[in-house]
Amino acid sequence: MKHVGLNVAADPLYTMSYIGVKGGFVCAVADDPGMHSSQNEQDSRHHAIGAKVPMLEPSDSEECTQFTKLAYELSEKYDTPVLLRLSTRISHSRSLVELGQREERETVKYEKDVMKNVMMPAMARPRHVHVEKRMAELAQWAEGCEINKIEYYSKKRGFICAGTTYNYAREAFGEDASYLKLGMVNPLPVNIIKDFASHVDELYVVEELDSVIEDHCLKNGIKVVGKQIFSMLGEFSQATVKAAVDGTHDQCIEYPEQIPARPPVLCAGCPHRGFYYAIKQFSPYVSGDIGCYTLGASAPLSGVDACICMGASVSALHGYNKALGIESKNSLAVIGDSTFIHSGITGLIDIVYNKGFSTVVVLDNSITGMTGHQNNPANGKTIRGDVTTAVDIEALGRAIGINRITVVDPFDVENVRKVVKEEMECGEVSLIISRRPCALLKGIKHPAPLKVSDKCIGCKMCLNCGCPAISVKKDENGKNRAFIDSNQCLGCGVCTYACKLGAIER
């Protein structure tokens, strides 16, 4: 899971730490330094410390394999969940892996054990004793384990690193420095760090995000250079490590002019575009969520006012409407089908229960789009693509007590406007399902690309729908004119609503 996914799973994690395991329990969690695709830059090591569970941190694909195996062994030996800390860079890298033999294990039989598995106070108290004892033993194990290892070369500088930062420091300084590579980042060893510190002249801690290792060193009286030169922000590289330590950069040639950015956009033919374009004229407050449709926040659609975490669109809208009263009814929440199932439904129940009047829109494109087209419980296929029961979102809405439920086609822009206006004004809770499959799904038939006729006067109104397939350029007579890229256009027709002259034709 991602770092923010571990927040959702934190509740069971903190108590599973007490219960421990019967078979192995390993949870892989990827942080996202640099926020390539996330809403925050939190450091999951704090969860390992908070939940009092061991955490390993591999530095490449080979170590991901080895450390996962080791994590399962530690899990069983010490009766604990084990976290495997990854990062975007590790998770989005491929490197060589030596494959081992698969070891088959028999499924462990269930045995009732109330003292271990029922965490009422009387049972949890002795389990907390186990947790503290286990972590002390693991701290001892960390001192001598093979994955916390020292590489001595030049002893002028020493770098304490973990995971991907080892690769950056190692590439930046080669054999001109020595390295303590920590494969286990919770609990951290003390003696091995002290030993390493006593052998090098200058000691640095290179860690992305927070100063966890550095704080540990300082607490144990080991003087290190860390966040005073390395940033708390963003992703590191061999270049940032080198620049921070000795101020040098590789030579390069920059392009001589300013370059326009290329932000991610909703695809040509994306059903979300139709919905955002339709509601633009009402300028509603839009409580957004996590998915492709978050991109509706960008100009020119500019259709999202807030985005926090999965499911927050619904509950945050409820808060917005409760705080501001019925005057705030020109507002709605937008949430994808997958995210709605994940954690939108709980907020919707709250709205009904608390007599709210919010309008919640499920942008149902029948897939989990942004993360790479995973199936989900609302589209009738398992994660492996087998046919399964699909959640009926309309029936779900009725079951929790919503009386106003409407399904719209986001490409029917006029109807979306009519329905959204009615539902926002009705003064009671309503659910709109904007339903059309993702344009990139296989097997979807698209109409022919659209064409711009001679009626076009180059007014640029069509650009308001923010479609990457449309641009306005000078024609052969030097006049502005819209062009539609037939390689990209999927014929969705949303732009035909934007053109007041009817110049965009099928």
Partner: protein
């Protein structure tokens, strides 16, 4: 000795497949290889970058400014955006295709003119071709990636047949012929 190849383009152009083939070729040749890509928030349309590094031992998967031996760009503006990642004596292989980014489409910015000339004048060895036309002539517009891979392969001192075999074992049956045609055309175009 580690060689670094940066592949950049626009989401949906097929940059990932070319890095996959490259990584497999270098692996077969016995090198240590790291391939890393980040494609951000969208399925399509954003700037995408893939790092391919190979050598005796590769530590960091990342390529930083001034470190790439070869930059393969699927689009002109992306060539300009990433050219500083080349070593000053590195080679730029670029498609002449232009894809307007949203700030240009919405009129907030202008697409720079004469990009390839400006890069070349800045002192970067630049090899360019209209890879989209090469691909379309081969019979498959999506084979832009193979045309560019062909152009880049002609500078890599690896037997051409090794590339062809790897493409054949990677792409779907029905696109084998067109992909190879695009690769071959790119290869000979860059060798001219």
């Amino acid at each position: 000795m580690v060689k670094s190849i940066l592949i950049v383009g626009v989401g949906g152009q097929g940059t990932l497949l070319s890095s996959k083939i490259m990584g497999a070729v270098f692996t077969d040749l016995g090198y240590d290889v790291k391939v890393s890509e980040v494609h951000g928030m969208s399925q399509r349309g954003g700037s995408v970058v893939t790092y391919v590094k190979y050598g005796d031992k590769v530590f960091s998967p990342v390529i930083e400014k001034g470190q790439a031996d070869i930059l393969i760009s699927f689009e002109q503006l992306e060539a300009a955006r990433w050219m500083s990642y080349l070593k000053p004596d590195g080679i730029l292989i670029t498609n002449t295709q232009k894809i307007d980014p949203m700030p240009v489409i919405s009129g907030k910015a202008e697409y720079p003119c004469n990009i390839i000339e400006k890069i070349s004048n800045a002192g970067i060895k630049t090899i360019c071709a209209d890879a989209l036309s090469i691909a379309e002539n081969a019979g498959l517009a999506k084979a832009v990636n193979m045309a560019l891979l062909g152009m880049a392969a002609s500078f890599m001192h690896i037997d051409k047949q090794i590339w062809i075999d790897k493409i054949l074992s990677t792409v779907p049956e029905k696109t084998k012929e067109t992909n190879i045609k695009a690769f071959e055309e790119g290869y000979s175009k860059a060798s001219e």
